[in-house]
Symmetry: C2
Subunit: 192 residues, 2 copies
Amino acid sequence: MEAVRELIWAGSYGATTIDQICQKAGVKKGSFYYFFDSKADLAVAAINEDWEQRRRPELDAIFSPTIPPLERLKKYCDYGYRFQAEIKAKFGCVLGCPLFTLGAEVSTQEAPLQKKIQEILDQKRRYLESTIRDAHAAGLIHAPDAEAKARMLFSFYQGLITEARIHNSLEVFRGAVHHTYELLGVKQPVPA
Amino acid sequence: MEAVRELIWAGSYGATTIDQICQKAGVKKGSFYYFFDSKADLAVAAINEDWEQRRRPELDAIFSPTIPPLERLKKYCDYGYRFQAEIKAKFGCVLGCPLFTLGAEVSTQEAPLQKKIQEILDQKRRYLESTIRDAHAAGLIHAPDAEAKARMLFSFYQGLITEARIHNSLEVFRGAVHHTYELLGVKQPVPA
DNA sequence: AAAATTGTTGACTACACGGTCAACTTGAGT
DNA sequence: ACTCAAGTTGACCGTGTAGTCAACAATTTT
């Protein structure tokens, strides 16, 4: 699963072959087919595992309701930058959001995989939504429609991070926090 | 070229084979290799042709300096929606921005193709940049740093349109204009 | 310790893919 | 009518890929 994640992420879904996956995982193809029906089947399992066991706990910590809303967003931006910087150090390339890139690639194929991706992306968006709702309640921003604002911010983030991948550059993260506050119309100049 | 564009767009770059391209184009493989060295070579030529002969003239018209800045953005949003709606009618799927999706997929491979994509995307961003500059000059918005604002808006658009592809839905375009004005902090309620 | 379950393997098939090439066709210039 | 360049073609090759399977090994159950 680690193998397939890295291969798909560093390259692409379509360009990743089962032979490559097996070689990287140090496993023979027979074993592969003992556990999975297809590449798509494995991909679903792999992204699900990564989400449940790694990303979700991390995001739960970042978006803890015990933290002031605007600070959550700052932490999230920092996390995003750190994450991509680590990847760049490891792979030599900025790889962006695995789910988003993969989702865009397979949107017209592999329906079950696509559905899983949509599910997880929807969950990620909910972190933003409740943060915005809290910020609105606290009078930090004016956002009566938290869902719409969250969709807006989420689209912006995904666009931003995908551009980081396309341009292989971490530069775009500069000012992410600032742009977030600008997009949300934060009333006070800047907190933390 | 038409064939390769549709295949890559409707599916993905990696999943598109030279055999498929030839079959769709009604041409034998020998002929393909007479004109192009590889799939990447053809892809570069195809997206370049599409840009120069179709998209650029369209965008030049939409972003004509003779049109008031905020109206340009509205026209652009309308154009984007119409474009995607036509595609959905034709292919049954929302396919998003070909360049952005493709750029994200091949970012770690096919350097020449990647470079061409970056080039065209940069040019597209410039339409927004000069529009924002004009809007600022006209006192319609406050945007002393037009380039940064343009990057922000561009990321938002690309994220939005890619989500349309991932969710196979035109819904996300609802309120695109409104969100654009919101993001830019348009002073007047709404013009045209 | 025997049996049953779970997992692993290498060898195999069938086929699709990228890529090549010599022979052939077309069309424009003379 | 002839020439020559531009373009087309089907047949072909080697390789990589998805997928299968019977035999073997490891682990757990009884």
